[in-house]
């Protein structure tokens, strides 16, 4: 299946200050596109626009699956996002959060999938703790697990290593390796090591200037 994300003439500004200007890019299946740049350069804004959480001022983002454009109202079935701005439900336990997002996304065999994710992210012993009571690193692992629960074709990661220890970061690299076998990934990071390791393509953003490759 030929799947890709096509970004066409994408622009976004806040209070008339341009953040993203006329960005054109294509991310093909099996590729990981890194989004790099200093704070305030618009990495999170770009990722939110890619996921459809933020409307661009101009331009558009097309998700193509087997040559056909995915309609915006069913995009949630194919996209997984982890972002510092995205939270899970504080009063629900780790297990309840995963069950909620798996069932909302109509995941078949969700019990097996959740067991696998709890095992992979070493979350079993936290399974019945409320999200609000977890440490930053464990919360980040759970956010990653919830983004992966429906095995998305397009994985979008906004600084996924934030708050994670070495073991946590290794988990992200494993996730990326697995993801690139079946789909594609877009990842925003400030870590140059990660950019070098996975950035077969890199969008470099500069504050209030045009992006460069």
């Amino acid at each position: 299946m030929d799947s890709y994300i096509e970004i066409k003439a994408l622009s976004k500004s806040f209070d008339n200050k341009p953040v993203i200007v006329d960005l054109n890019w294509r991310i093909d299946q099996g590729k990981c596109c890194m989004v790099a740049g200093p704070n305030g350069s618009g990495k999170s804004t770009l990722l939110k626009m890619i996921c459809g959480l933020l409307q661009p001022k101009e331009g558009r983002v097309d998700f193509i699956l087997a040559g056909k454009k995915i309609k915006p109202h069913v995009l949630f079935r194919y996209v997984g996002l982890t972002s510092p701005d995205l939270n899970l439900y504080g009063k629900l336990t780790v297990f309840e959060n995963l069950v909620l997002f798996a069932r909302l996304r109509d995941v078949q065999n969700w019990k097996k999938k959740i067991t696998e994710l709890l095992d992979f992210f070493e979350l079993e012993k936290f399974a019945f703790q409320q999200f609000s009571c977890l440490s930053t690193g464990i919360k980040q692992r759970l956010k990653l697990a919830s983004a992966l629960v429906h095995e998305p074709l397009f994985l979008v990661l906004d600084e996924p290593g934030a708050g994670l220890d070495h073991t946590g970061k290794l988990m992200i690299y494993k996730v990326l390796d697995q993801q690139l076998k079946k789909g594609l990934a877009v990842m925003a990071t400030n870590d140059e090591e990660e950019v070098k390791k996975y950035g077969s393509e890199t969008i470099r953003l500069n504050p209030f200037s045009q992006p460069g490759g």
């Binding site: 997984g80 996002l81 995205l86 629900l92």
Partner: protein, 227 residues
């Protein structure tokens, strides 16, 4: 078509269940509502004492208590999602229709619980004339459906604005006033000893408002929910 509708209801019930579990575990809102209702009704009973007051005053008192208690529920669902940063997770998990129906269901459950609690307390402590508990309960449930329909979509709108709470009050006021007027008037008629046939047109009016509000909300919610 029927399969899609059942799927939507199933997914909406997941959203509603999540909201209700969060409310139960937080406890603050439900406890505040309970204390407000019990205190307001007990005070009314204490001040009125054995004095007989007219049916219209009973109806107004009852609906003022319901109106103020419902403020703890109104405007919470979507504002809370935006404030906690969970709205994005929800947007990337299911279709907008399922989110709207789920929020409507949780608001309706909370509002219905609130009005039934208020009614039980009011009948127990104040004992209004005319009886007719089941008729007043039917009016209250119909009015709750209207209020939940209005407050769910308006709360979604307000959550997008910077001054969300102020906007919500401005938006909701003209929509809920006719509902409250109708509900209070019908309640007064029941307190005067009316039977079901005498309030059926008023009940149908409330049900019609609910149908219109919910249908409009279903059509508009997709645009409101998106950025």
């Amino acid at each position: 078509m029927a399969a899609r509708l059942f799927a939507s209801i199933r997914l909406a019930s997941l959203v509603a269940k999540k909201d209700l579990i969060e409310e139960l575990r937080t406890g603050y809102t439900l406890l505040t509502i309970f204390l407000f209702v019990v205190a307001a009704v007990a005070m009314t009973s204490f001040v009125i004492g054995p004095v007989l007051i007219p049916a219209e005053l009973h109806a107004v008192l009852l609906w003022i208590i319901i109106f103020f208690a419902s403020q703890f529920i109104f405007n919470r669902s979507f504002v809370k999602e935006e404030e906690q940063g969970t709205a994005s997770a929800l947007k990337l998990s299911t279709a907008p229709l399922n989110v709207y129906l789920g929020k409507l269901l949780s608001n309706l459950t909370l509002l219905s619980g609130l009005v039934l609690l208020t009614l039980f307390c009011y009948y127990f402590f104040v004992a209004p004339p005319g009886g007719g508990f089941l008729l007043v309960a039917a009016i209250a449930i119909a009015a709750s459906t209207c209020l939940a329909g209005a407050s769910t979509i308006l709360s979604a709108l307000a959550a997008k604005a910077d001054a969300g709470n102020a906007l919500f009050v401005a938006l909701v006021f003209p929509v809920i006033l006719p509902i409250l007027f109708t509900a209070a008037k019908l309640t007064e008629v029941v307190f005067r000893g009316a039977i079901f046939q005498e309030i059926i047109s008023g009940l149908l009016f409330l049900i019609s408002i609910a149908v219109v509000l919910i249908t409009l909300s279903v059509l508009l919610f997709d645009y409101v929910w998106r950025d």
